[in-house]
Symmetry: C2
């Protein structure tokens, strides 16, 4: 049985992640991936199966990276509302111009593949649920402190926050102007307030 | 000088629009486009120049189609706040499942090309400004009626509404569940309220 060449799996997945993130799923040809990962076709298929399986592993690694953003903000910040705000600011106003244009790999994937490759779009959606669940945790805490509106469930408010995050990411791609982004966050978070209940 | 074959320009652009909308800009190869448009390569280049120029014409035609959605809602609805709401509902809860998954061609283009083809992403962004300007018109009217918050400019609130629309479109691609979409609209529009000003 042929031995597989030794390589650092995290490192080659990272190389693939950069290709997928920059070019999108469909444009990331096997040839581009092989070059970036410095692997031959046989090693790639032996190690990862096909492109779709490689992409799933890329999505997992992307979520791992997100922990570095989530831990000090949405997860680690003591105040639940400040936690939500600091996460939204971290992925927008505090992002580099380059990353603002790249956007979020999960939302990019959903945007690109919802119609043409629903199973892979679903893989990305499943990982967005991690974010939604973290929003739910902090909203639940904020509700216990009587600091958010009570006419909508925390799940519904979490759906809204995911949509707000996606909209902010889109705005980053259109206009990466920090003052505009900050205003959208300010306005958007007012929707959580206990006073904002009348129609 | 060779005569160009006769064809209905709107009709062939429509065929190209469907390809670009379904597959995205990069995946829409010239070969796919020619097949859909029922043209040969020479006629395509003679009539439209290159793929980028064809795409600009496709974006214009897409904006023309949007008029059918904008006229009875954001533009034509007498009440300015109802106008905003009815537009957001029209492009989400009232959309077909197919179109929910396809999303908005302008946002799709920005998501796909902001990093790899900034000039074309900018073309799409410029057309999103049409929507932003319509939001500004109706927000200005709502402000005259003292029905929206005064601590943010109508331009800032319009930016927020564009982000909300983009976020809703993303939610359509993740979960096309009307009740969830309606709740996001309800929560999101509360941010416009005069009462939602404290931080």
């Amino acid at each position: 049985m042929a031995r597989l060449p030794e390589f650092d799996r995290t490192q080659v997945v990272e190389a693939a992640l950069q290709v997928f993130w920059q070019d999108g799923y469909t444009s990331s040809t096997i040839q581009k991936l092989l070059r970036a990962m410095d692997l031959n076709r046989g090693s790639l298929y032996a190690a990862f199966g096909d492109k779709e399986h490689l992409f799933r592993e890329v999505l997992d690694q992307y979520v791992d990276h997100m922990q570095h953003i989530l831990q000090p903000t949405l997860i680690g910040e003591a105040d639940p509302l400040r936690a939500i705000r600091s996460f939204l600011e971290r992925v927008t106003v505090q992002e580099t111009t380059e990353t603002k244009k790249l956007g979020c790999l999960l939302f990019n994937t959903i945007s690109e593949l919802a119609h043409t490759n629903p199973p892979l779009a679903q893989e990305a959606t499943r990982r967005v649920q991690i974010l939604r669940n973290l929003f739910i945790d902090r909203l639940t805490q904020a509700r216990q402190q009587n600091r958010i509106r009570t006419d909508k469930s925390v799940g519904e408010l979490a759906d809204y926050l995911v949509a707000l995050a996606a909209g902010l990411r889109m705005h980053c791609k259109m206009h990466a102007i920090d003052d505009e982004l900050q205003k959208i966050i300010d306005v958007g978070l007012d929707s959580l307030q206990p006073t904002a209940t009348a129609h």
